[in-house]
């Protein structure tokens, strides 16, 4: 837990933000999905984002590695601004790993090839080295024995662990998770959360959209609650769960915790 404490300490010292949203707005056609998002994440911080369906959670974190473009305001990741500049986008995507709800593994490649693809082609790592690193991460997600299988041969939980390992293989400074467990059967959720907790313990900067409140309580440094494209409340888990400020948050918590 030392790493975690260090991170918290840095947070308190107001260390420089690794992700910085300033007054970000985004529209889908006429529809205003993100409204004046002002928000920053410090290095080593673990953020959990929650909120009702359609509130813009996915959109927000997809803006961080520019899978979506915002139309107003500024997003800085690691000091680099998100704009049309392809070099910037490339640099940032190398540094930001992402895990999707539906895993999005490449079905035509083996697990090992899934993991080594980006290191080899983007980071230009020698193949051998990339494979060694991949095996290392596969071991960390406890799935090294499946390296030569294809994604279709694995269970959902295993696939999601592979997806996390794939993200880690690029040695990112930030990991984004978009509801990583919501497409999984209940028995498999735990194995994925365990991997994520382990990752959190190692001090990785994480932004995670999830409804797993247990996870939020255990690992989050801050919980961000969104509704209708706005950040309604952002607070430590302790404050957030026990003493929510907004009635909207209270309502949401009552629904989700009673479920």
């Amino acid at each position: 837990m030392t790493e975690r404490n260090m991170a918290l300490a840095q947070l308190e010292q107001g260390e420089e933000a690794i992700i910085q949203f300033s007054d970000v707005n985004k529209w889908y056609g006429e529809f205003h999905v993100l409204k004046n998002i002002d928000f920053s994440v410090k290095k080593g911080e673990r953020i959990v984002v929650c909120g009702p369906s359609g509130s813009g959670k996915s959109t927000m974190i997809r803006c961080i590695n520019r899978l979506e473009e915002h139309q107003k305001g500024q997003i800085l990741v690691d000091g680099i601004e998100m704009n049309d500049n392809l070099k910037n986008i490339e640099t940032i995507r190398k540094d930001v790993g992402m895990v999707f709800q539906h895993f999005n593994l490449f079905p035509h490649l083996t697990i090992l090839e899934n993991l080594t693809l980006a290191p080899i082609w983007v980071r230009k790592t020698p193949k051998k080295e990339a494979e060694e690193m991949a095996m290392h991460y596969l071991e960390r997600v406890k799935i090294a024995n499946q390296a030569l299988k294809y994604p279709g041969q694995l269970s959902g939980g295993q696939q999601q662990r592979v997806a996390i390992a794939r993200g880690l293989c690029m040695k990112p400074r930030i990991m984004l998770f978009d509801e990583p467990t919501s497409a999984l059967d209940p028995e498999m959720i735990k194995e994925v959360l365990d991997v994520m907790i382990q990752l959190a313990d190692e001090g990785m900067t994480m932004v995670c959209v999830t409804h797993e409140m247990g996870f939020a309580k255990t690992v989050a440094d801050r919980v961000v609650f969104m509704d209708a494209g706005e950040i309604v409340e952002a607070n430590t888990p302790h404050e957030f769960f026990d003493n929510p400020k907004h009635d909207r948050t209270q309502l949401f918590l009552s629904q989700i915790l009673n479920h």
Binding site: N65, L67, R93, M98, F100, F106, L117, W121, M170
Partner: protein, 366 residues
């Protein structure tokens, strides 16, 4: 006081509902209409089959050097025998046909090597797509390495048909991929160039494209530059099938879930990297049946080159039909050609159906 439930034994169905008799009754005589249909079909079979068998087999003549030898009143297969070499190779010099055969055997061997695990698939593909065509061309055309030169006007028969079909489909694949990607691009000019090309080609019959290739292309080339008619026709055929190929591949691209594109993007792959490493391998595999179907269509369409004066299998048969020694053997010639085309196309369509089924199960597993 519970009673134990013992399922009563399954009995065999009544005789009237199973077995050959029931099958026949159900399929042939279940209703008055059905009986009428059965009788009608039997009558058609009676009209067609016995005379056909009589003509094609019983009364057929298999040996001979002219129509005069065919006295039995049935099919004169001797005609096919005499012209067989021409039907296969056109006017390719008889002493040199081993070169065509060798190229074919080479190709079959190369393709068969895909089954060998130890060989690197990418390397093999590169050999087939890059090295083999050069070797095959040298073999066919000669004029090098002590091979006697054979002009393209002498290439013909099934050899030419196959050449046109295979070159057309292989060359149209990369072009089709580019066009399909272009059509899905969000750059308006790229997109419209591709759309206009694809839709124009698909709107007109192949025969107009072939006429363009054989009559109009020379007019568009600068003075002194001109190329071989076979090459021009190949260009025409390739452009034609590329437009159809593009649509097939576009279907495959659309079938790849959005998440695959996003995952590739999120990993920092560039556009071309994500296309060649992630999207296209999946999309192409998905559309193999579509590609095979395009190939079947193209293979049948190669017959049109006869209209612009090239002598493919159909052309050679048509020419042989005019031989004074063999007047009256048109039906035999067409039957032979029909059988060859049918066997190849039907075989391929079965293959594509098998692939489709295999791909299907592959998807369910995922």
């Amino acid at each position: 006081m519970t009673i134990e439930f013992k399922p009563s034994p399954s009995l065999p169905p009544p005789q009237s509902s199973v077995g050959a008799v029931a099958w026949i009754r159900k399929n042939f005589f279940s209703s008055p209409l059905n009986i009428a249909l059965t009788l009608f079909s039997l009558y058609i079979l009676y009209l067609l089959l016995p005379p056909m068998v009589q003509w094609a087999l019983i009364d057929a003549t298999w040996q001979g050097t002219s129509k005069a030898a065919c006295t039995a009143g049935g099919a004169c297969w001797a005609f096919i025998g005499v012209y067989f070499k021409q039907f296969m190779y056109g006017l390719y010099p008889a002493a040199e046909t081993w070169r065509v055969n060798l190229a074919l055997i080479l190709l079959i061997l190369l393709v068969a090597m895909y089954a060998v695990k130890a060989i690197h698939k990418g390397l093999l593909t590169a050999v087939i797509l890059l090295v083999y065509p050069v070797v095959a061309f040298i073999l066919f055309a000669g004029g090098m390495f002590g091979l006697e030169s054979v002009e393209t006007t002498n290439w013909g028969g099934l050899f030419l048909t196959t050449l046109l079909g295979v070159v057309g489909i292989v060359a149209s694949l990369p072009l089709g991929v580019l066009l399909a990607l272009g059509r899905r691009s969000d750059m308006p000019i790229v997109k419209s160039v591709c759309v206009v090309f694809i839709e124009t080609i698909r709107a007109v019959p192949l025969i107009t494209i072939l006429f363009m290739a054989s009559v109009m292309i020379p007019l568009f080339l600068p003075d002194g530059l001109n190329f071989n008619k076979l090459l021009r026709v190949l260009i025409g055929i390739t452009l034609f099938s590329a437009a159809y190929m593009a649509e097939v591949i576009r279907g495959g691209l659309q079938a790849i879930p959005k998440g695959q594109y996003e995952a590739a993007d999120a990993m920092g792959l560039t556009y071309w990297q994500s296309m060649t490493l992630v999207i296209l391998p999946q999309a192409l595999k998905l559309v193999i049946p579509g590609i095979v179907n395009t190939f079947i269509g193209l293979f049948k369409d190669t017959t049109l080159v006869y209209i612009v004066g090239m002598f493919d299998l159909l052309g050679r048969i048509q020419a042989a039909n005019h031989d004074a020694n063999w007047l009256g053997t048109t039906t035999e010639g067409y039957a032979f050609a029909g059988f060859v085309y049918w066997a190849i196309c039907f075989g391929m369509s079965r293959y594509s159906m098998a692939v489709e089924r295999k791909l299907d199960t592959g998807h369910k597993r995922n």
